[in-house]
Symmetry: C2
DNA sequence: TTGAAAGCGTTACCAG
DNA sequence: CTGGTAACGCTTTCAA
């Protein structure tokens, strides 16, 4: 079961390896014709022979020679988290469609691990990277930027990193949207819980919250509680418990995990939404519709985020300049922000 | 910014490329010493030079020459679904730890797409595959088995595929466990909803249900409703609605998505668990603890499934024989099966 | 313990 | 339009 090489095809078709290489690399133009300097007759014969022999290009050899690998790497903090799992699927589909195969590796919000996996994927000659930078990871990423590796930052920005493509959510708008909805529904004592992760998406959602509160004359009520992944479960419960005594009437949770923890804490504490506390959550999940009262939440355009990042990256790989793409969040209304109404 | 090659290192260290290659491929033995036929002094010098020059192996070249790539591919039906997203993370961590980089690609329960992505990853010389076979995908997988590609079947079995490793859940036991719990709690009119997917995990969970019902003299109450991904939402609601009239008192849902749909339908229909209907769901999710009544569910050992599959695959890549590993599910009790009790 | 040299399968370059 | 041939960077004999 020896591997069929370009040489076997060439011999069988009675042409040179060069011809075969041309044909195999040719793209079909809109008319379905091969776009290469080869006699169509010959090309067709080569194609048939290749098909018959079961030839498949050896990417390792092609990569070694050409420097390109038709491979990209996607590095989120955790591929199993809801947001990235969804987006990864969109990335994968788009990449496959464009002829790329994709490596996935999680950085774990850990700069050292990020550097590790960057090293690992670069050793495989990936043509480009889609990365969600974690705190402290700027240096490692910049090293690759300097080495001219095409990179797209996804979901998180970093002003320490220049000359890369960016596909981001308008996080300020997201925070603003959530807060203003609450204000418009009559809530005033609105607080927020966030992680001390040092990533742009969170800090911008916080800015959005602050801006909106300030704009509506609620600057004195601004309060953001901070926690970490490890302590989140107990911290969130504590924050919520204490807040009730202080007369807080609404919480904005800027990530899915914080939203789930908040709902869980409320259930445990016997608090109801919206009666005891209004809630605006983040990202999509079954829990928002299955919770006793449906939960209002901010929705990110996953499909677009994923597809745009692949499109931008491949465009950069092809030599085009980097771009910054900012996508808009949308709001999905639930009962958790409907003051004085019992909702579905 | 030219790439540092083994030659550069050799020249700089004043040794031959062979030596450098030896050193770079040597594994550290338990004492931390390099396990290769090279003078320790020389080895150390080479290592230092490599470090200083920032050398990193070019896997494309290594792969071309050696036939190995230090790459594996993981092909679930959908990397964004809850179960596979979780397991992918475990696979990724273990693979990284063993020095492998991993491609992910979804088959979409589509035999043609499976064949596509198999072709794509094989062209990249992956050393082995972890696959969750979809209906009709046996032929494509068998072609690779015949080509001696090490393969581990994960989560789903197929008796059409021989000579591969397998890491599976004891799905019969899972179905049995769920059913017997319900029987022991006093439920007798227990039904099940499943997909017509033609995959082993589902059909074995059905067998478990049937076995348990039969064993407890409830053979006449056996009833499995079938649906498809596309129609699931409306079908599940219909099944549940009709079942109430027939006096059904419990449902076993053998996947996460069916569980979520069932809970959603019940909410919509104003049915309560366990009062109107007892529920046993599948896989882990926040919804089971956040639902009005906590939901009893079957838990798969994700971490073990992921890690074992990587360990088995790498062992097979190293030339060891294939194995079949069957892991046991566990039960997580909630209020949804507590007849006549109002639970947390 | 060390080194020279032969490829691995492609693509890129240069001729015809 | 077509074909020869030299790399690409590494691993792997084989010899010293």
């Amino acid at each position: 079961m020896k591997r069929v090489t370009i040489r076997d095809v060439a011999k069988e078709a009675g042409v040179s390896v060069t011809l075969v290489s041309f044909v195999m690399n040719a793209k079909r133009d809109p008319d379905g014709n091969l776009d290469c300097p080869v006699n169509p007759e010959t090309a067709k014969r080569v194609l048939q022979v290749a098909q018959r022999l079961g030839y498949r290009r050896n990417f390792a050899a092609a990569s070694l020679r050409s420097g390109r690998s038709n491979t990209i790497a996607v590095i989120p903090n955790d591929i199993s988290n809801k947001f990235f799992a969804g987006i990864s699927r969109c990335i994968e589909d788009k990449a496959h469609q464009l002829g790329y195969t994709v490596f996935f590796a999680s950085s774990d919000e850990n700069a050292q691990k990020l550097e590790d996996v960057l090293g690992a994927v670069m050793a495989h000659n990936v043509d480009g990277l889609i990365v969600a930078p974690c705190a402290g990871g700027d240096a490692a990423i910049n090293k690759l930027v300097d080495a001219k590796v095409p990179i797209v930052l996804l979901d998180r920005d970093s002003d320490q990193i220049q000359n890369v493509g960016k596909v981001l959510l308008d996080d300020v708008e997201a925070g603003c949207m959530a807060t203003e909805l609450l204000v418009n529904k009559g809530y005033t004592n609105i607080e927020m819980i966030s992680y001390t992760l040092g990533i742009s998406s969170l800090s911008e959602r916080e800015s959005g919250y602050r801006n909106a509160m300030t704009k509506h004359g609620l600057v004195d009520n601004i309060r953001i509680h901070y926690t970490t992944y490890g302590d989140a479960a107990s911290d969130v419960e504590k924050f919520i418990k204490n807040s009730i005594d202080r007369g807080v009437d609404a919480f904005f949770l800027p990530t899915y995990s914080l939203s789930a923890l908040a709902l869980s804490a409320m259930k445990k504490l016997g608090l109801k939404t919206p009666d005891d506390l209004a809630i605006v959550g983040f990202d999509e999940s079954d829990i928002y519709s299955l919770y006793e009262t449906t939960v209002t939440h901010i929705v990110q355009p996953l499909k677009e985020l994923g597809e745009k990042s692949v499109e931008l990256l491949t465009s950069m790989i092809a030599g085009n300049p980097s771009e910054v793409i900012i996508l808009k969040p949308t709001l999905c209304l639930g009962g958790s922000t409907e003051r004085n109404k019992k909702s579905l």
